[in-house]
Point group: C2
């Protein structure tokens, strides 16, 4: 198909597609004339992925380039590839005094060790969680890591199993990465919404006869 049809079917402007081509996010089409090229279904799929990485994942064009390079390295294990994608979407951790961070990190480490979970594939996410524990301690919620966090690990395990099964059923590497990005980012918002719904329901059940507080 020509670039105009690629634009129509993807919903992405021709100028934007040309920009992605220049930046190497999209492979060149097959030359069909001095100023013309032809594109296939692979280009459409790749375009869809690039848009998901940028618009949904919030990644910079440079980071999208790294992810694309990882996808196109044929002997790169899928597990490592998913690590690259996950890491690229983790939020930076706030600064904190070293002793406070060490204490928080130790709580996370102990919890993961208790469960026999491998810490190597998720350094960024562990950093993010450590940052939350530091912030909670600063706000006076010092026990959260030992009292509440283990229940979070319990509840999230079920969710992660569904996430991974859904992503792996997507088929090819491009589609798997696309679904990891979309389902991770929008899944966060869904999780936040369902948590509020569930909190309201649980409060309702517990407080219906307790309105005297």
């Amino acid at each position: 198909m020509r670039i105009s049809e690629l634009s129509e079917r993807s919903g992405i402007a021709v100028a934007t597609i040309k920009y992605y081509l220049r930046e190497g996010l999209l492979p060149a089409g097959e030359r069909t004339g001095p100023n013309q090229a032809s594109y296939g279904e692979d280009h459409l799929r790749r375009l869809r992925l690039v848009r998901a990485l940028i618009e949904v994942g919030g990644l910079s064009v440079a980071t999208v380039g790294d992810v694309i390079t990882a996808i196109d390295t044929p002997d790169l294990p899928l597990f490592y590839l998913l690590g690259v994608v996950q890491d690229s979407m983790a939020a930076p951790a706030p600064n904190a005094a070293d002793t406070e961070r060490d204490r928080a990190y130790e709580i996370v480490r102990a919890e993961m060790e208790r469960r026999g979970w491998d810490m190597r594939p998720s350094p960024q996410a562990i950093d993010m969680l450590t940052g939350v524990l530091v912030r909670l301690a600063q706000l006076g919620y010092r026990d959260w890591g030992s009292t509440v966090m283990p229940r979070y690990f319990d509840g999230v395990r079920v969710i992660a199993e569904t996430d991974v099964a859904t992503a792996l059923s997507a088929g090819e590497r491009d589609d798997i990465v696309d679904s990891v990005v979309v389902l991770t980012v929008l899944g966060d918002t869904a999780l936040a919404a369902i948590r509020r719904i569930a909190q309201a329901q649980v409060s309702l059940e517990q407080l219906e006869d307790l309105d005297s507080l």
Copy 2:
């Protein structure tokens, strides 16, 4: 205590405390002279809450005023008060065609009905979840609501029970609202981090011998 000590113990600048006093977020202290007032432990607790609502909850000063008014209405049921707080922290839903939204809303409604959950206390969160379903459908993940979302409800129920138990154990209304805000907002980030950690662990378990994909 004097305003300088209140500032020292709360870590909030005197100028900021004076601003909160003018805006009515903090009740006036007891007059002890023409230009002096005395403050108590209640002021300290309220100050801590106001800071949590603004810095952690991301609420505007006007919205903080609404929450404070709700707390100070003695016959307002705690359940309703928590509803006000939760609602104030929900993200706005994106625009979408009516039929697409109707379809997404119906999926959420059916799931909640199946569980016997009351929809009335969480209109904003339901709207937020409906928005996610619309966005997923636009990106080609139309089945997510029927295949994946039920597992999210399962996993989140455990987490919400811990959240509510923790909040209710906080004691007074100010402290309960403080903990709802802090634990809801920072809990979202913790949940996102733990989800990435769990996804990595589940991927590792499932892909260790499957690196051929």
